[in-house]
Symmetry: C2
Subunit: 236 residues, 2 copies
Amino acid sequence: MGAIPTALVVGLGMPADVPVAWVDGLADGFREECALVGASVAGGDITRSELVVIGVTALGDLGGHAPVTRSGARPGQVVAFAGRLGYAAAGLALLEAGLEPEGGPLLEAVEGHRRPRPPYACGPEAARMGAAAMLDVSDGLLQDLGHVAAASGVGITLDPTAFPIGEPVAAAAKELGADPVEWVLTGGEDHALAAVFPPEVRLPPHWTVVGHVVEGAKVQVAGRTTGLGGWDHFRE
Amino acid sequence: MGAIPTALVVGLGMPADVPVAWVDGLADGFREECALVGASVAGGDITRSELVVIGVTALGDLGGHAPVTRSGARPGQVVAFAGRLGYAAAGLALLEAGLEPEGGPLLEAVEGHRRPRPPYACGPEAARMGAAAMLDVSDGLLQDLGHVAAASGVGITLDPTAFPIGEPVAAAAKELGADPVEWVLTGGEDHALAAVFPPEVRLPPHWTVVGHVVEGAKVQVAGRTTGLGGWDHFRE
């Protein structure tokens, strides 16, 4: 973590009857997303397959600096995130409930599921600011921070009231009678960045401090660590 | 082409019921093959899939030199190959004929199909010697040299009598009543290296000169370019 993205290598397997327009759309999507960071698809391979299979290797340039890994968190440091949390989980819940919103915050949640918006620039920024550990939130914040805690040999305590709830997440929770904080803490696929910083680092406003690194192990959510069995498997 | 292999990134999709021993065997194979060149599996990702799908990105280090591409061939240069040709095609033909050789050259052909032996060191060597174009022979020599001809805007003429026929290839051809030269010219999956060199380069004995670059287009096999319709699609 902390590299500037430079190129993708894409391996593509697909049946012979996949429409060319579908493949064109896939290529357009790769090109448009790469353009956001100045990268490009630099190569890959194509083969026939019974299923559509897409394998992507992303390459980046650390500019000679060491990568920011999962193992650098130390007690006393702060835990922060940048980007969106809970949007993709909210959008998926709406779609699974059979809803097809045509506008407003519910549509924004669905679009957050269909096309996440990773905060690309925040990775190199965090590295420059001295992040001690970092990863992207692909499996849910609690689970992914659990990887940091395990790799660093520390515990992490989160303050659930510190998380801003995006309007689309709040609207979807109201629509479905769900708990928006659960989506924020356990929903994956938004590809937010979670990072650990020394306490003296002054974070710009697009980073939100949500917890601290402590002695111990695993991830605790203050005030919600008991009686919410659904979260237990994220704290293994 | 011409880089020193450094690392593989492996994407692996598989059903949940794949035996662990199978996955261990796969990992062992990657490690053993990487050890031949001093590379290692540096990362990747795993996901569940209905089929076993393996996607590999190989990374290499050019040491600051420009890569040897397909587009550098010029008339007057010589075409040579290193490694094996026809072994994998001969081995596959034996297996498809229902033969299960237990030893001797027929088994060697089958093993050539099951585990190709790319001449890894010959790639950087060819680059150091000044190769003008190079690629590995994965789809068959005629087809792959056709890519060089097209990318370079030249023709290539091959001398079919210049190719050594490996004992396993000859034995399999005798067993099946097949033409060993066809396997050598059109068989893929041996991952030999084919390269084009300036005529003044003195090639070591593990490189065999088999043809020349000429003005024109496409790949011609001297004395066999007509009456062998099966090869036409390789010369498109």
